[in-house]
């Protein structure tokens, strides 16, 4: 386990997240892709903190912020899905092809 391998694993996770977020039609599956991207980012930040940051506490704060971002993304994402579903009965991205109305 060295910095390069940790970052490579993080890159693969991010790549899978990008692929999932772009290819999935369902809102919730799309959000899963985004979560997986943040997962990769957290791993990368943790790896850099441990190997290149000399254990600076600010590095850990960054990870905590990433987790907060994930929580916010989730909460707002689900709230939007509920709002859209309530208004349009749609839970797929194509279901709201037009944003009017």
């Amino acid at each position: 386990m060295v910095l390069e391998t940790v970052l490579l694993v993080a890159a693969v996770l991010l790549g899978i997240g990008v692929w999932g977020a772009l290819s999935q039609q369902s809102f919730v599956m799309l959000m899963m892709g985004i979560e997986l991207m943040v997962n990769g980012a957290i791993l990368a930040a943790g790896g850099l903190w441990a190997y290149a940051g000399g254990g600076a506490p600010k590095g850990q704060v960054l990870v905590i912020i990433a987790m907060a971002v994930m929580a916010i993304e989730m909460a707002i994402g689900f709230a939007l899905v509920v709002a859209v579903y309530r208004a349009r009965q749609a839970d797929m991205t194509e279901g709201i092809a037009s944003m009017k109305g």
């Binding site: 890159a11 692929w19 999935q24 441990a50 704060v61 709230a79 309530r86 009965q89």
Partner: protein, 204 residues
């Protein structure tokens, strides 16, 4: 290879494999819990990296989050149990290319860039340092995150509530066409349709 290395590769492969399976399974519930498995493995790697608190906090947070996720998945999507095949994708080629390009680009950065070599001291009080930092130097950041989360909660409740400040939240909205991209049919408007729309899942 030391025990830590073996553990790292086990966790890393498990994280990647379960992350990939998220988008390849037929069941929403399995998808959520595979994503959780990916998070758990990343949390375990963080513990190996001596970020004990972050690793365990990630486990804790993601578990609750994925339980909520699974609930939502099943609430909003048909076929929760994976009895029928689930293939809801668009632009698969573009997505795959984007994924590979992202991985390759970031991987290149990981290999090529010469990062400073400053490993964390295993004896350091990292958790105490984190606590002091959160309530000391980075207090503004920490508090901003807290306030943002509060604002998020308020927003989420407002967005998802059935009734807004100005009456019914769905007033003026229209039902989606039956086919993606199809014409909107006025008779499908939700307004005045007491029962709500039943078209979306009306596949048979």
């Amino acid at each position: 290879m030391t025990g830590v290395d073996v553990a790292f590769w086990v966790f890393a492969l498990a994280a990647v494999w379960s992350g990939y399976r998220v988008f390849r399974t037929d069941s929403m519930v399995r998808a959520s819990f595979l994503l959780l498995a990916s998070f758990l493995n990343v949390g375990a790697i963080l513990v190996l990296l001596l970020a004990e608190y972050l690793g365990t906090a990630l486990l804790f947070m993601m578990t609750v989050e994925m339980v909520v996720m699974a609930l939502f998945m099943v609430m909003f999507m048909m076929n929760p149990a994976g009895l029928n095949p689930m293939e809801m994708v668009h632009q698969p080629r573009l997505a795959a290319v984007a994924g590979v390009v992202t991985t390759a680009g970031l991987g290149l950065v990981a290999v090529v860039v010469d990062f400073p070599d400053a490993p964390v001291d295993p004896a350091a009080e990292t958790i105490r340092a984190l606590g002091t930092e959160l309530l000391g130097g980075s207090m503004l950041v920490f508090e901003s995150a807290g306030v943002t989360l509060l604002a998020t909660m308020v927003c989420a409740v407002i967005l998802s509530a059935a009734r807004g400040r100005y009456g019914d939240g769905t007033a003026g909205s229209v039902a989606p066409p039956l086919e993606p991209g199809g014409d909107h049919r006025p008779e499908d408007d939700l307004v005045g349709d007491g029962g709500g729309g039943h078209h979306h899942h009306g596949g048979h």
